[in-house]
Symmetry: C2
């Protein structure tokens, strides 16, 4: 609606501009109809995609049935006039059709030698909801006779007529399609026919009669017999379909302007169902699944296009045509090669062979899988068809991500479906496929999964207490929660498949089972989840694991991307194994190492809790002393793994109560003990814990005691962490391993916060290096995730040597959205109703959040021109957001290891688009 509204005044202004100046004649002179051989490929705006393709093929001399295109401008004029044709339009149509008649040596409506045409819509973008094709237009009782005479095939002619009435009735006259089918079925029953082709010419005559009666009954109109009336009605129907509800909704949803309009293509019919030398088919110039350079497609001998689609007869692979129609096949091969060279891209072709003559009906860029996109792009560079820059722009970064995920073996998955093992579908929260034994709590996950046995963690929903289980699980399945629920976010971060919000399943962790539609899955039984589709299966399915090192083409493409991009690509990694994966995928550094995930691990959580609940400084320090060697080990591992590269380590961020037992659960336990009254000691113990947890509860933990606020109130924790980081770096330095730790302080909103902490941590770092007898380079910086930090970034840059945008929290605060709450409660609805163009947690909100990021970049650079600027929120792996980060001049983006290749390509595309824009400006 926004687009529509904003367009209206512009339209009015344009009309105002137009009317007074230009003479009426000039307006009339605008060419409304283009013969195919008058247009070309660049005219998509005016002729639509299909029309421009037909024109281009005609222009370069390919065999295209002659025809013409009524422009999109006419559609707009039609609508502007309240659904009335511009005066004289039909006269122009007659003139254009006359040209077609001359080329075909047939005449429209001629009882002896009739020209039949197809009428098709064709907007700039292919668009569901637009009018379907009407074939065989021009037929009536008289021209039918001519067609029978010309072809010598009575049944063919009757069948063509039947098809025409059916299509016209359904598409132009809006009679429900099922009713035509019912008539055919009834006739087949009466005639004892099993398939359509069993019907005789006589049967078809009867069917046509019944079709017309149906139309008369339903719409109170006689079926038009005048071909010119048929044509005019069909053109009008195409225009009307542009403003049909489905098309309007689709455009609203996809933000396609409503004033593009659709073109109408009127084209001479050719018939693939005129006997043995006839055929119809579709083909890709390369294999759209693999990218292999070889014609790929299928065809049906003696059939019309719709038969291929209808799936009644099984089409033959295109290669078979080489044997059956060798001459035509060779010709088609040449055309395909020529069109690919011409368009410099893989083409998706439609053709018809009429009595041994090849006719091309459509060419367009072919949709392809990720694998095919990569292979085709790289191959085409080798073939010198396109440049490396073009190759980089040909592949969707998102496709790369899909390439790197484990997938189900398609055969085994299909088998499972056939066996009825598809249990349900949930939200596709984190892509990839996984198989494992169902487990229902994180401890069991560790117990079973820790030994290498694959497990899938199934929970009603997850929370930080479950993370140690999620770490060992192959995948996560939850009954509740949206695409940004805890399960989804953590799973995406870990690169693990996750199906969330599978509402049909009932999870009972006590009973260690879940049920769905009466079927029960117990602990230990194997299930499989597909996080790309949201499917949940009730048995193991074989998975195929990709290996980047074996993906030669992808490696080649990413190599080009690395040379093209300006933006660094780093990864978020909390563990050495993540860091290793990130490096393998091409990460140049670690932009976010979250130290608290380490705290959640099973062997550490008890110590962390002792530290938090300590009643004296001595007790707290004792716990911290226990944590120090553990954290040092963590940091040594990750710094070693990233030797020579930077690792940004964020000091503790979450509120401490996240590490404690949950308040609700404790409250229930205490109440139970109290009512039972049989264990006063346990009650007292639990009550003490409940009080401690209650004291730390917060109304809005997002906005509470966390981040640097913790560092100021409980300095012991971050002192321990900084000591661990420096000790780790010094240890490695003595082993000759170079590390570049950067200490990141989260949640800073005021420069004084940073000052207080820095004034303690810098001397501490110096002290550690003195103790260790070795110096290491380190930086001290901050996360920019509080809106105020953007506004005072100049002051903050006085202390911080680097900024890393925590775009998740920044988005939460700038919108006032809590992800946990917003997603489930209203955000999806906001996106569906287009109140928000996108989920701002997936695609960076450039207008709002981005504006403050830009401010921070500008102010930060003012104080410290060489400041290192990164982003470590989830947006760091999203292509559109990466383009924005490139534009505002960040140093790097940091994303989950699995998204690193995607980010490398997206960063390259951002640089290339900038280059293109500059070149255009300079032109």
């Amino acid at each position: 609606m926004a687009t529509h509204t904003s367009r209206r005044p512009a339209g009015r202004r344009a009309a105002a501009r137009r009317s007074p100046g230009r003479p009426a004649g000039a307006r009339a002179a605008r060419k409304r109809i283009w013969l195919f051989d008058e247009g070309n490929a660049t005219m998509r705006d005016l002729l639509g995609g299909k029309g421009a393709g037909l024109a281009e093929m005609s222009r370069v001399g390919l065999p295209v049935p002659p025809g013409f295109t009524i422009t999109t401008a006419v559609c707009n004029e039609y609508n502007a006039r309240g659904r009335t044709f511009p005066p004289g339009l039909m006269d122009e149509v007659r003139r254009a059709l006359a040209a077609v008649e001359r080329k075909m040596r047939k005449r429209f409506g001629d009882p002896k030698n009739p020209l039949l045409v197809s009428v098709r819509s064709g907007a700039k973008f292919s668009m569901p909801g637009m009018m379907d094709t009407v074939l065989n237009l021009g037929l009536n009782e008289e021209t039918l006779r001519g067609l029978a005479g010309l072809t010598g095939d009575e049944r063919f002619a009757q069948d063509a007529y039947r098809r025409f009435i059916q299509m016209f009735g359904k598409i132009v006259l809006d009679v429900e399609g099922g009713k035509f089918e019912q008539i055919i079925e009834a006739r087949k029953r009466r005639a004892g026919a099993t398939v359509d082709t069993d019907l005789t010419a006589r049967d078809l005559v009867e069917i046509a009669r019944e079709f017309k009666a149906l139309i008369k009954r339903e719409k109170a109109v006689d079926f038009p017999t005048d071909p010119w009336v048929q044509l005019e009605m069909a053109i009008r129907a195409v225009f009307d379909s542009w403003m049909g509800q489905r098309a309007v909704d689709y455009r609203n949803y996809n933000k396609i302007p409503h004033d593009l309009g659709t073109a109408v293509n009127v084209q001479a019919m050719v018939f693939g169902n005129m006997g043995g030398e006839s055929a119809t088919g579709v083909a890709f110039t390369r294999n759209p699944a693999t990218g292999e350079r070889r014609l790929y497609g299928e065809y049906l001998p003696n059939a019309q296009g719709e038969d291929v689609v209808a799936g009644i007869r099984t089409p033959h692979p295109i290669a078979q045509m080489e044997r059956e129609l060798p001459g035509v096949y060779r010709q088609f091969q040449d055309v395909a090669t020529m069109l690919e060279r011409h368009y410099r891209d893989m083409q998706d072709l439609e053709f018809t062979v009429e009595r041994g003559k090849l006719w091309m009906l459509q060419t367009r860029a072919g949709k392809r899988t990720a694998q095919a996109a990569v292979k085709a792009a790289v191959d085409m560079v080798a073939e010198k068809l396109i440049t490396k820059d073009e190759a980089l722009l040909r592949v969707e970064p998102e496709q790369i991500y899909q390439l790197l995920l484990p997938r189900f073996d398609p055969d085994d998955k299909a088998a499972a479906e056939r066996e009825g093992k598809l249990l349900t579908r949930g939200l596709n929260a984190s892509p990839g496929a996984a198989t494992g034994a169902a487990v229902f709590d994180p401890d069991t996950a560790v117990e079973i999964g820790g030994n290498g046995k694959p497990v899938i963690l199934v929970r009603p929903e997850t929370n930080p207490d479950d993370v140690h289980g999620m770490l060992v699980a192959r995948g996560i399945l939850t009954a509740r929660g949206g695409a940004t629920s805890h399960a989804a976010v953590v799973a995406r971060g870990l690169g693990k498949p996750c199906v969330a919000g599978a509402e049909a399943i009932r999870v009972d962790p006590q009973a260690k089972q879940f049920s769905v539609d009466g079927r029960v899955v117990h602990q230990g039984e194997f299930i499989s989840i597909d996080g790309t589709t949201g499917e949940v299966f009730g048995r193991a399915i074989r998975t195929l694991d990709p290996d980047l090192s074996k993906e030669r083409d992808l490696q080649t493409l990413l190599g080009w991307a690395d040379r093209a991009r300006r933006l660094g690509v780093w990864a978020n990694a909390d563990y050495p194994r993540d860091a290793a994966r990130a490096r393998e995928f091409g990460a140049e550094g670690v932009g976010l190492c979250r130290t608290e995930h380490m705290f959640f691990e099973e062997d550490r959580l008890p110590i962390v809790r002792r530290m938090i609940l300590a009643e004296s400084d001595v007790e707290r320090q004792r716990a911290l002393d226990q944590l120090l060697p553990i954290q040092r080990g963590d940091f040594t591992g990750i710094l070693r793994e990233m030797a020579g590269a930077t690792v940004v380590i964020r000091l503790i961020d979450p509120p401490l109560h996240e590490f404690l037992p949950r308040y609700d659960e404790l409250l229930v336990e205490v109440t139970e003990l109290r009512v039972r009254g049989d264990d006063p000691r346990a009650l007292a113990e639990k009550e003490r814990l409940l009080r401690a947890v209650a004291g730390m509860r917060e109304q809005n933990p997002m906005l509470g005691l966390r981040g640097i606020r913790l560092g100021i109130l409980f300095p012991g924790i971050i002192d321990m962490q900084v000591r661990a980081i420096l000790e780790a770096a010094c240890t490695l330095a003595r082993q000759g391993i170079k590390s570049h730790p950067e200490i990141m302080i989260p949640l800073v909103g005021h420069p004084n916060e940073l000052r207080v902490v820095e004034e303690r941590l810098r001397p501490l770092a110096e002290r550690v290096m003195a103790e260790q007898g070795v110096r290491v380079g380190y930086k001290f910086g901050t996360m920019i995730e509080v809106p105020r930090a953007c506004v005072v970034a100049d002051e903050i840059a006085g202390r911080a040597e680097f900024f890393s945008f925590g775009s998740n929290d920044l988005t939460q605060l700038i919108y006032g959205f809590s992800r946990d709450d917003a997603e489930g409660k209203f955000l999806l609805r906001y996106v569906n109703e287009k109140i928000l163009p996108e989920n701002p947690f997936q695609v960076l909100d450039a207008r709002g959040v981005g504006a403050l990021m830009e401010m921070a970049v500008r102010l930060g650079r003012k104080t410290r021109p060489d400041i290192e600027l990164g982003i470590c929120g989830e947006h760091g792996g999203d292509p559109a957001s990466i383009e924005f980060c490139h534009k505002i001049g960040l140093t790097y983006v940091s994303c989950s290891p699995y998204r690193v290749p995607t980010a490398r390509l997206a960063a390259a595309q951002a640089a290339l688009k900038e280059k293109q824009a500059r070149a255009e400006r300079d032109r």
Copy 2:
């Protein structure tokens, strides 16, 4: 520290600039010492406050003991040289002292006719932690004899010597003061003396000897006998005290630059203890408590200044001097009048009478109560002493607020204290005094307080469920929570006294009592709380209720303020009675009428809950239909009360779960029922409710489903509210009463949110007016409280006819602070440790929050130049924040009714300061 650090480089730069260019002679030529009759009142920077006052009095010919001031620049030089005197300083001191000697016809150190001096510090601002006065400097065994001879009073001379050694020992030599007192006490015991004056000259000789022995023992130095050495040491001590820890801390806390330095005042001694014609005293030119124009103060005959302070003898009222020393009194009256006229402000004076001669020792602006400030300012305009503008700038806006609060009768309060009824002190969360019966839950508060009986609601802490009780209570007392806890915020909004976080009390709502230090207060017992001081008393105390209409002077002053200010002053009012109070206090409109407070009222809450928990649309609509007439009544009441003025009505804002029973309590109830197992029906019922409440729970309700998000998801509620508003306005219009409702949509972050709602509500408003057959003017606007709204204010202003800054939420989101959590957990510590200069919920954070507000104002005006701009957060009543709002050009501020007079004055001061600044620029 920030100031210190940032100053250092500036200092270095300044030094660099200075050294190469100017000749050494020029530097030496800078005047280091100013005789009192050389300086004047404008030289506070160089001479300090005290020095400038003494100079000014000398300059205009008043009797000031001669003396001189060593400048603050010397102090800085002393520190810059590593605590060394600038070369030649003591020579200059000698020359200056020679001038004093000439005037006094005495000589410093002369055994016969000795000049004694006092040495005092004197910075630009009066500052605790700086050096105290040293009197009688210049005495030693020899000059002592001269003094005895000159005065003919051996005991006087010995006493003067004793005092000098004591002061010098304590202040300059840093010997603990208590040790001197011990010597005196011991001597008194031995001499059988009860008071100091019982001691004989001989006793005093002994004491002086013991003092010297003490100093030798403690500091291993002989007491200096050379008057020049004494003087040099005293000057050095003053300079050193500038960098003493206490002074540095004080300056850091009060953001006073460290490079101001202190001056040193050396002045000839005069003695008020030289017999019957001698006296010493302090006086104000007007009564500092009431503002009455009459000398107010006290004096002591035959005493030195320190005796007045020490409180050993009871001083006489100053008026008594008229009888006892009539000539001196008349002279002093003339001097006082003259100084007041001269300084054009009420003065605080110190004087000494030596043998019938009046000497002035100090003059400075007098501190005064709110009442005195107002009366003096208004009187002085009548006396043509000052202009109205000056009068407006003389009164602190905050003082006005205190003037309008109920206060305890001071006599009764003092009596209560004497009786030991002061139970404890908590946080002074909302000022004013209240007395009532203690009640421990909101329902009882309504039950007892509803009948007009005064009650004080005592709770561990409050939440929205308690509001109906808070509404009827006279005051609120809580054991937990800070200055921005729920209790504090609501109480301030209601203008009710509140003492929060009184941690010493233990509240037991079940037992209906609280205890403090073993004393138990039961329900129904009377207590009194003073929200201005935080005191809690265990009995009723009489209160005095102010009445603005009787405060003639205040009315006059506020009338001037209204003419001086540009900013409108509106009030936040949810009920007609609040609106009436607001109008009485001068509010020009209602800037925030919160509709949800009405929902919390006891008779409505059940309907609201039915509406929320409705399981069908029909059920929900039925509840809404019941609410409609109630809300219409609410709006009719407030619109009628504000007839002719604007009322901004905010549609529902809080998350719906705030209206439901609390999850924790339900969880406990369900668990109890489950464990007991004796009432399955009640269990099922409660479980159903628990599930419903659980479904609405949020992790961070601040950032969840509230504000416009509710309006989009549950349009029925705001439809009902808008209908109620328009119906109310139409009803009034038909009665000939003009109303100007403005419909305010909360929590907008994206213009599309506003569009969706406006597209529904505008036609609804039109429909209501058509039904009612009358048209009323209304506006449609939004609260700016989400940071994103500031960034896209230009887009939002396309829909919104007004903005009202919700600065509370805006601050929460820009800082990422939840008030509920931050205040209790870390914000107070941040403020105490000066990490934040102020609590940003009390004083608007101009640098951060303010910058985004300015952006919103600029962008909003770009789209809609006449947009109405207000602020309705608590900052709307804070003077510093009001000044900021004036600067950025808001239309109005809206605050709680009780703060309206404060805001009127603050707005006037903001306008006057701007006028002054402009005048200075133009000069």
